[in-house]
Symmetry: D2
Subunit: 291 residues, 4 copies
């Protein structure tokens, strides 16, 4: 937006892999969003996407969303396996918190405005008063989002088996239990309720235990998409972006059409750096951006 | 998709206008999506967008959404008026119903896939069984969407004052009352629950009584976005497209930030054709597309 | 209400039993409603209620609700087992459908009026239009309730694993899948939406497969509480009433306070009649009452 | 429960009146619960219940609920007016907070147990974690309920026009705005989620401004039904009990069947005591009971 001194940049290298085994009961289609998203900030050094047996497949790359989708045709019943592996080099920018102010609505790019709207799992339109009462008194947008993450971290129990694929931010705010997906939805919804654009971030996460795909969120502050993780389970610079979008509906790892059962899934990520220096996910005086 | 005989095309000309009066209690921003969307099929012949008093304003044109957004800055308290007027020439294609079949998922363009997802007001993920039980036995996708519109028209009462800005398809399907927005959300949600991409359509509607902005929906059939209006209040060829999107959240006529009160709104549309021949919104053997 | 010819009465005899095994993690309380309800129409011939090890216990008998509650004190951690067994003789009245008309509100007894209200799982206040649109045109109340059961039976899939303890009639009407509890809640809610008092019925059910506690509902018609079972899984005269109430919240088989885990439950019912003649749960020209 | 020193008792005298004007579009029934409830603690000194024109009417007095219901038959279309006026003497007991402990479940009377269940507008089953996280760490039940009222008072905005007759505690806890009915529902739901029996209280309220029927709630503590009013709008000893029940569904001021429109309602209450000494509704070291 304005002339800034050069930002501090950290670069990382990761190797990621995902292996999914399916049983098809009949002919089906499968959309997978499991590959790291290539961008100026994240380079795919090498990758392979294999299916056993070989399946008809194509790749969709949407100009407006940050994701790559593999579309697989499963012609007949049977079991099949997908194995993706890739190496990526990515970078994360450090930005002083005081630069991460609210962006004036008339100055927001068209591509950012959709992230002010309520979505399936982030009903920000039902959270205006809650968000305003809890966080509205703060002056600075970066402080607000940090306070949101703090509040989520203190009030929502991280525990599997309570929330389902239909659980939304409006449920989680009261039921107070969920997994990373639910933490991210609630963070997104509260930001939007405060007129801060926010989007869901899906990716690989270094040191996540047990290993799995992870979800967190980005808020648009000071002209940057700043990463936040209210679960605080992984270092902020341990993420490999797979997709961003309105919420989990738009960034689903796998969407199947027809009669498919996921049987196993195995996710791995290793650091290729000799000395990985973790950036703590707790509140700091700086924000971090993958974009 | 395949070699087709030339489709029958109808061309229309309309003059539309919208006048909105606001009271600003303090400095605010206002996003308006009230201008017809320019495209190959819809030409803006002339238009003017005036505010009294003059306001700082800019236009956003999102490449991936079909809408134009005017962003207005309201610097201080006071009343102001927006007056838009435009003339458009648009066309509607007639396509034989038998060509409007399901599109195989792996053949869908990337731009269409988002319209399979559930959204804020169209929770298709909660309607699978309902949609399958009611409409799943039909063979042909065009018949399914026609049956959806029939079902909505027969079961939902068109009446203002019952639904609110938070009402969603999941409410309307049971509460059975609503306005055009609710009819459109339910149509969209039921299509998506049947794996038919569908999107919300917002526009001007000729012969709508009383005059107002109108909402209906488009389903993606046989490679075309086919228009459907379960309210059956206006001729299918009486529409001027303002925006399409996931649902009303993404295509809102007006979104205000700050402290703004809409005081009056007046919408007009007149046909500039000597003899406008209405296409009935009831089920026919053909589909119609504005795209 | 008026002078009637003697109604046809069928008498049955059943032996029922329920065995529940719990693990207490610490001191707890347990409320059990598993014993048949004694009344003029249902005689407890013999029964035993045993716990292993012996627990402090008392019985509550609420004058206004039809249920008996055993309140157990579990002083310390450990496992324990409850074994109930009883023999009952009960009777069911057959009443010609034409006598089962709407009861005029000012003539309803005070004890019946609460069953017009919406309750936790039966939000009749959200179903007025739906109920009126589907069933409002019928003249006779008995026909309406039969049509409700027919509609539920045809539209809701009986299947475990989809609904939870939080599922309500408002969910089931759209999600269209559930178990006996959900079928009963929906029947109750639709009756109340039509101003027909209705209550949840919990009991043992002969020939239910696999054996378990069962739920159905009663509607207040012509001055009688008439039994309806939209699941149609058991003969209407195969029921032993355990409790009636507003919904499952008020008639729960077991409510635990503290830290208790139900480990196994086994329910049995056998007919003690030489030749049990089943009354079909499908629509007939007569209604049947256990009250 | 145990031997106590005589409790401090305050006695009050009030004159109350309610005037309701209706328009009947056709024959209808009307259930009114507007008369003070007679009990050992509340004596009806005099009263009159008049309708203009005269209507067929009867009174229901439910043994298990604390309410009187007038059932009116409206034979034909037209307007009519109800005018109730009464004088009551009632008393309120002051009980030291330290006696207001949790009651052990096995010691609860049968009549109290229903008030542990979730109900239509008080879905305590969805608030367990929230209630436990916020209030679970406190030792004493009286402190918990006081903290609940404090939290509601601080977090929920008292404002008409946002909530509707369908708004429930689950909505209010997040939407954070409502009227006395919503405050009471939320208080009830949070108590029940903590295994504290709680019930809705409907009545006349001295010094309520503008005058109207009021709602607050009672929690069962130390064997007493203790009154709480999270709105803090009126003195605790300014209430005249009309009804208690599960929630607003069971204690509705007016329920109409048929086609009735309420046109005006006017409620009045005056103190007949020479020097009314208000008891503050804010947290004190004592609890107060009308039962």
């Amino acid at each position: 937006m304005v002339n800034c001194p050069p930002l501090k940049m950290t670069t990382m290298k990761f190797e990621v892999s995902a292996t999914l085994a399916y049983e098809a009961v009949g002919s089906s289609s499968l959309l997978l969003t499991i590959q790291p998203f290539p961008s100026k900030e994240q380079t795919i050094l090498s990758e392979s996407f294999l299916t056993t047996p070989a399946l008809t497949m194509q790749e969709l790359f949407s100009p407006s969303n940050e994701k790559r989708v593999k579309v697989l045709e499963v012609a007949e019943a049977g079991t099949f396996t997908i194995h993706y592996t890739g190496k990526v080099a990515n970078e994360i920018k450090e930005i002083p918190g005081e630069e991460l102010a609210d962006v004036f609505i008339p100055l927001m790019p068209a591509s950012v405005l959709p992230y002010l709207n309520p979505s399936r799992y982030c009903q920000s339109d039902k959270l205006y008063k809650f968000a305003f009462n809890k966080f509205g008194a703060m002056e600075h947008a970066f402080d607000k989002v940090n306070a949101i993450c703090d509040w989520i971290h203190r009030n929502i129990e991280y525990s599997a088996g309570f929330s389902t694929s239909q659980t939304s931010a409006f449920d989680t705010i009261t039921e107070q239990v969920g997994v990373c997906r639910d933490f991210a939805h609630l963070g997104v919804a509260l930001c939007r309720a405060l007129t801060i654009p926010a989007r869901y971030f899906s990716g690989y996460a270094y040191k996540l235990n047990p290993p799995d795909f992870h979800a967190c969120f980005e808020a648009y502050l000071g002209g940057h998409w700043i990463i936040f993780d209210a679960t605080r389970l992984v270092p902020l610079n341990g993420l490999v972006k797979v997709a961003t979008g309105l919420d989990a509906a738009e960034t689903a790892i796998a969407s199947s059409f027809g009669n498919l059962n996921l049987q196993t899934i195995e996710v791995k990520i290793t650091s290729l750096d000799a000395d990985f220096q973790p950036i703590s996910p707790t509140v700091s005086s700086h924000g971090y951006s993958y974009s």
